[in-house]
């Protein structure tokens, strides 16, 4: 205990004694820690965003989509296929009818995709997606209209549009563009309402309804040249249990696809499970790469300490002559190595905090430095200090006091 306190004091003294060198030694660890922490916090931020997206429409909202999706399968490549090839093809009118039959009593809302780009006069808004839907969408999504109102059942043949907040800001340049008009294809639409902000993640643009323009189904079909082009169908089970609704939907739809599951029926949470798994896998892979820089940092510490040990041969000799045991010498140098890596780690975590802040204000990503990450990296830092400190420390302790006193 006494020696520990002493050793810590000594370690700080030797760090202070060679500030520039100590900083350079720490630099490797700092860079490593910054990259690992940043990647982890980005992953964590995205994971939380995805979790919010999962939950924003309620846990019982069922989504029927074309194409096959793998559920609850953590194999990375499948996840990657799942996320990189979203929603090929579309459901047919027949499918929609089947869904309506199978989910009697539930609220069914189709969402059709319109290929045309929205614009005002000559300024295009290519980021915006245009969806055709019916009046029950706000009900199904359980989402409020912030300004104006959603179109009623009686308005489905009118050219009115309800937009997300990003559209309002980026296309119209104002928060409440109610009453203004925009062009989609050769049609002109009047903005009726603006949706409240949706939870979104820049990694999942498909899921971002803030950039969406919702128009009535009929108008959408006209724009698509009478193609229905159904992208997905939301089913709110209402009083029925979600699982039974899902299985009856699957049974019914299978008939349309000759017994094949060439469609997917799942809740929003299941739908995003792969995204989660994918992000976790991606974070893992990238941080493994970043961990290499930590390793390099550790080797840097070892290198410097080895040099230090031979520089301080005489000191070691004096200490041994005075009566330091080998273990005491080892603990002195080990403490120094741990202190250096710990200081590097603290600086690294502080810098990642700054990096995080910069990412937050410059992008839509919301990285989160969780306590787990800090705890984990601290453990890793101490581990690095120990692992890469052992060799120099043992070397120092093994020095023959007589030779060391002469300074070799």
């Amino acid at each position: 205990m006494i020696m520990l306190k002493n050793n810590i004091r000594l370690a700080f003294a030797s760090v202070r004694g060679a500030k520039w060198r100590s900083f350079l030694t720490m630099l490797g660890v700092i860079i490593g820690i910054v990259s690992v922490v940043t990647i982890f916090s980005l992953g964590e931020g995205i994971r939380r965003q995805v979790a919010d997206i999962k939950n924003q429409f309620g846990g019982d909202l069922i989504v029927v989509q074309p194409g096959r999706k793998v559920v609850n399968d953590n194999e990375v490549y499948k996840s990657i296929t799942a996320i990189t090839s979203p929603l090929q093809g579309s459901l047919t009118q027949k499918d929609l009818d089947s869904i309506n039959q199978a989910a009697a009593g539930a609220t069914v809302v189709p969402l059709t995709r319109v290929g045309a780009t929205p614009r005002i006069n000559d300024s295009n808004y290519s980021a915006g997606q245009v969806y055709g839907t019916d009046e029950k969408l706000p009900l199904v999504l359980n989402h409020k209209i912030l300004f104006g109102s959603f179109f009623k059942a009686t308005d489905l043949n009118k050219n009115s549009a309800v937009i997300g907040m990003t559209v309002a800001e980026e296309l119209f340049g104002e928060t409440v563009p109610v009453g203004r008009s925009l062009q989609i294809g050769d049609q002109s639409f009047i903005v009726r309402g603006v949706f409240e902000d949706f939870v979104s993640s820049p990694l999942l643009p498909e899921q971002d309804y803030n950039t969406a323009i919702f128009i009535p189904l009929v108008a959408a079909q006209k724009l698509n040249g009478d193609q229905s082009n159904i992208r997905l169908v939301y089913v709110k089970p209402g009083d029925h249990p979600t699982a039974t609704v899902i299985s009856s939907l699957q049974d019914k739809l299978r008939q349309n696809y000759a017994g094949q599951d060439d469609f997917s029926v799942m809740t929003q949470a299941q739908n995003l499970a792969q995204t989660d798994a994918f992000i976790a896998a991606l974070t893992g892979i990238i941080s493994a790469i970043a961990a290499i820089s930590l390793l390099v940092g550790g080797i840097g510490i070892m290198n410097t300490l080895l040099v230090t040990v031979s520089e301080r041969t005489r000191e070691i000799g004096i200490r041994k002559a005075i009566g330091a045991t080998n273990r005491q010498i080892v603990s002195q140098f080990l403490t120094e190595s741990i202190i250096i890596s710990l200081l590097g780690g603290i600086i690294g975590i502080a810098i990642s905090g700054i990096v995080n802040y910069v990412i937050r204000i410059t992008t839509d990503l919301t990285p989160v430095i969780s306590l787990e990450v800090i705890g984990l990296t601290s453990a890793v830092i101490i581990l690095i200090g120990v692992i890469f400190g052992v060799t120099p420390a043992v070397r120092a302790a093994r020095k023959d006091p007589i030779v060391a006193l002469r300074g070799y």
Binding site: I2, K5, I318, A321, I322, G323, T325
Partner: protein, 290 residues
Amino acid sequence: MPLIELDDVSKVYGLGDATVLALDEVNLSINAGEFVAVMGPSGSGKSTLMNVIGLLDRPSHGTYSLEGRAVARLRPNQQAKARRDKVGFIFQSFNLLPAMTALDNVALPLAYKGVFQTKRLKTASAMLKRVGLQEREYFMPRQLSGGQAQRVAIARALVNNPSLIIADEPTGNLDSAASRLVMELLQDIHRAGNTILMVTHNPELTRFASRVVFMHDGSIVSDEQSAIGEVAAGARRSMYFMPRTTEDDDLAGVSALMTSEANDRKPVAVQSRQAKLKNYKKIKRAKAKR
């Protein structure tokens, strides 16, 4: 019972043709309270003897008992602990740790012993007071003069209350005034009952010793009691080992070694080095056979 008892202690360095016999069956016993000066030319084995007695080195052969305890075959850690508790070192080049204050330097042996900081610093402070450097407690070694630094080193050697103090040319780096101060301090410590073993080249310093040992080629060739205050008789003879130059030589740039007037004198060695080595090997073989 003597404090130090060396029995047939030998030390061999190196391998094959490079073998050096640094100590050759040395027998030496030192009682508590003695002030022993070890003299001899370079390479005579003084330092090796000092390292062995100071537990920095282990003898190749022979037995060594310190305070009745056999210490020749201690493991490095036990050796370190014995060194810490029994031996205090004073070096020619002071060997203070440059990054520490005088006080911390003096307190260091206590730290390795595991004494708490407050007590440690108190003891160290008392020790610095004893060597007359109370006002220099918080000076760094580079801020101290040579004499002061050596006195700090003496305080450090004393702080653990060792049974033996080993001084390796304690005045070698000091001017004459500082030398006298340091030697008087050592004398003082000796009077207080400490045992001191001092290695020196300077015959003048035998004035302070109660016993003078001469070494040559790894053997003790002479061992005499000497009256304190007088240069030992043998030391006068050993002026041979201390080649001196005159002022004229200095001016002429002549090396001290070339002008050694003692070239015609016979060295005190009894046996030639080669003969000794041969002898030693014979003994070793005999031992192995047994």
